[in-house]
């Protein structure tokens, strides 16, 4: 009953991953829904990139704990993606006449939604993942794809040579055409890492998705199966070089680092640029209240916070309360956390709704052990508790973070 009009360009956003390396942070929510940067969730960056790049049709593929993500995205109003034609569509796995199948891999997830994409009869498909922090104009990448008459274009970023072995590494020739691809090579031949951002000609991709589906040995993954196969069969593939901030926030350390990256004098990722705004769903909160006794430096603090203590080099989300004489340092404090008086929080991630009572000492300051300390959501840390660095406190239990 819905009249679909042709779209040149459709984006498919993979948001179904569990992100198990984030531990208790993704116990109840999908990785793209993890809070970031004082008022965002990770997926806000990709969705805002889509809007700012002029893309108005985005399929979001969900699978793991999608409830919070679904209600967060809704029909995409926050990103101006509630359109009469196109807009955001949530695409969970579903049951067909012949039964249901979960998404087996990234390529299979797209394969199962071929009919969704076909509705728009697009020329190009953009594949994105919902767990990276970056600002990128996909329309420029599309222009590059057209200019090169490419059939598959992969966005790449130069990474430090010593880290290259952790990535999918592309080796382009002098024209940018990709001649080799190595997944996590021991001795990388280049430092161009794939960002997990692909543009395909839809007719080419559709072919490969079908072939891949019929291959019983495939793991149905873009990086492991589709791309190597295309390369092998001489599909015209180009590397699009991206310069700028890009971070995979797949681990507790990288999530913490990406937050801390925002606190420098001139951070590479500018959140205050009116020309490339990052949109998000804004809760109802009054302005933050900074008391007479507060001291705040090198920090991001969001609305609804009440600060009576000292906040240093930290990121505070909505509605955080920091009591008198408490110190919060090098930490991420998620929405609605309450911190009592005389507490010391150092190098911690405190999850939503947790309560840290008076005189607690959490994280590095407490002893000589190292690493980031994580306090799970809605937990209560009783008064006077000392928690050594590098621990994870989830469900009333203290465990060493692996």
């Amino acid at each position: 009953m819905k009249l679909m009009r042709k779209k040149e360009f459709v984006a498919m956003l993979l948001a179904g991953g569990q992100g198990s390396r984030l531990g208790i942070l993704t116990k109840k929510i999908a990785k793209p829904a993890v809070p970031f940067g004082g008022k965002y969730r990770i997926i806000d960056f990709t969705l805002s990139n889509c809007y700012n790049s002029g893309i108005d049709t985005v399929g979001v593929l969900t699978q793991y704990q999608p409830l919070e993500l679904n209600s967060y995205i809704g029909i995409g109003r926050a990103w101006d993606l509630d359109r009469k034609n196109g807009g955001v569509s949530l695409l969970p796995p579903f049951v067909r006449e012949k039964g249901g199948e979960w998404y087996k891999g990234t390529a299979n997830a797209i394969y199962q939604n071929v009919s969704f994409i076909n509705q728009y009869n697009p020329k190009f498909v953009l594949i994105l993942s919902g767990d990276h922090i970056y600002k990128m104009d996909y329309s420029k990448m599309l222009q590059f794809h057209k200019d090169k008459e490419s059939e598959a274009t992969i966005a790449v970023i130069e990474v430090p040579w010593k880290e290259a072995h952790r990535f999918g590494i592309l080796i382009p020739d002098e024209n940018g055409r990709i001649i080799e691809f190595e997944e996590k090579p021991v001795n990388p031949k280049s430092n161009y890492a794939s960002m997990g951002v692909y543009i395909f000609n839809w007719n080419v991709l559709k072919d490969y998705l079908e072939k891949d589906e019929n291959d019983p040995n495939s793991s149905n993954d873009f990086g492991k199966d589709i791309i190597p196969k295309m390369l092998q069969e001489n599909v015209r593939m180009y590397a699009y070089s991206f310069r700028g901030y890009w971070k995979d926030v797949g681990t507790v350390e990288s999530l913490w680092e990406a937050n801390m990256d925002l606190l420098g004098e001139k951070p590479q990722l500018d959140l205050y640029d009116y020309n490339w705004p990052i949109y998000s769903v804004t809760p109802t909160q009054p302005p933050q209240f900074i008391s007479e006794t507060a001291e705040i430096n090198c920090s991001l603090v969001s609305e609804g916070c009440m600060i009576f203590g000292r906040v240093e080099h930290s990121v505070l989300f909505f509605g955080v309360h920091v009591g008198k004489n408490s110190i919060v340092k090098d930490s991420i404090v998620m929405p609605s956390v309450k911190i009592g008086r005389n507490a010391v929080i150092e190098k911690c991630i405190i999850c939503e709704n947790a309560v840290v009572e008076d005189n607690c000492q959490i994280g590095a300051a407490a002893c000589n052990s190292k690493g980031i300390t994580v306090v799970g959501d809605s937990l209560r840390v009783p008064a006077g508790q000392k928690i050594p660095a590098g621990m994870v406190i989830g469900s009333e239990q203290l465990v060493k973070r692996s």
């Binding site: 004082g38 804004t282 109802t284 009054p286 209240f289 900074i290 920090s299 609305e303 989300f317």
Partner: protein, 371 residues
Amino acid sequence: MKDVMGIISLNENSDVLNNITNHRPLASVPFGGRYRIIDFVLSNMVNSGIQNVGVLTRYKHRSLIDHLRSGKDWDLDRKRDGLFIFPPENINNPAELYNGVMQNLYNNIDYIYKSRQKYVLVSGSDIIYNLNYRQVFDFHKQMKADITMIYKEINNINKLHSCSFITKMKNTRILDMEVNSCCSKSSKMCLEAYIMDKSLLIDIVNSCVSRGYIDFIKDGIVKNISILNVIGYQHTGYVAKINSIESYYQHSMDLLKTDIWKELFFKPGLVYTKVKDGAATKYTKDSVVRNSLIANGCIIEGTVKNSILFRGVRVDRGACIKNSIVMQKSVIEKNAVLENVITDKEVCITAGKILRGDKNYPLVIEKKKVI
């Protein structure tokens, strides 16, 4: 409260805040770091469960239309009922014959008549407080009142002009009132919010207009006070009546008291406003902020004390803001100093400039001025 229709009448005098109300009605004057004055009474209505609200406007309502749009931010973008904005519509009566509320009601009586609700809550828009009208409505029904009006016992009545006061009460029944008296001896300030049957409201308006009476309170209510059961409901919470630059400034500064901040923004309900996107506020290594209210999207490299910063304000290194209110997207450049100043939106104070007003007479900087 589904059976109560909310009516907000923009009846205020138009130019009480000098430069700040030059281009907007008082109802859409920014207040409290991220709100407009009308947000408070509108949120009260929504939090009470009222689902049909008409906003009756008079002058200069472009900024108000832009602020309220479809009512979505107040959950009032509904298929049935919801938010309606009524521009001045005066085809057959081009002259303004009546005072404030009466004129507004008279102009839009057909809309009021047509609504599905049995009761109305008529309110002005220039008094700020946080109250769930459900209690008032229960009280209204319990007392079998014809009209219930909300009032507040106040201490310092000298500062209040252009208010209505209850001058005589017996238990909860109101026996006499004074309007706009500049030397009232009563301490019971009327919050300009009335609950009554819709049919009674229509009666009052029609019978006043047909007799040439012009004032809603003086003619509509006070003249009928002996035959109607007019009841007072006492509000005990914080109240801010905005009727001058001084009162605007004082009540803004009141928000820096923790208790008032908590009450006005959280108790009993939250205050909704138009959603704007903006990052969290950034504090740098040199920033010194004390006893202040800061909205999102600011970048603070300087000093801010006893002040209110709206969304997206930039305070450069060495700049110093004291006892001031800085509205949206203003920029205070290096080493500039503000004390007892109110800047409207998008003002720029260039490097090194020093501006000082008096505590009782703050300096007001017009919208978009560069100084």
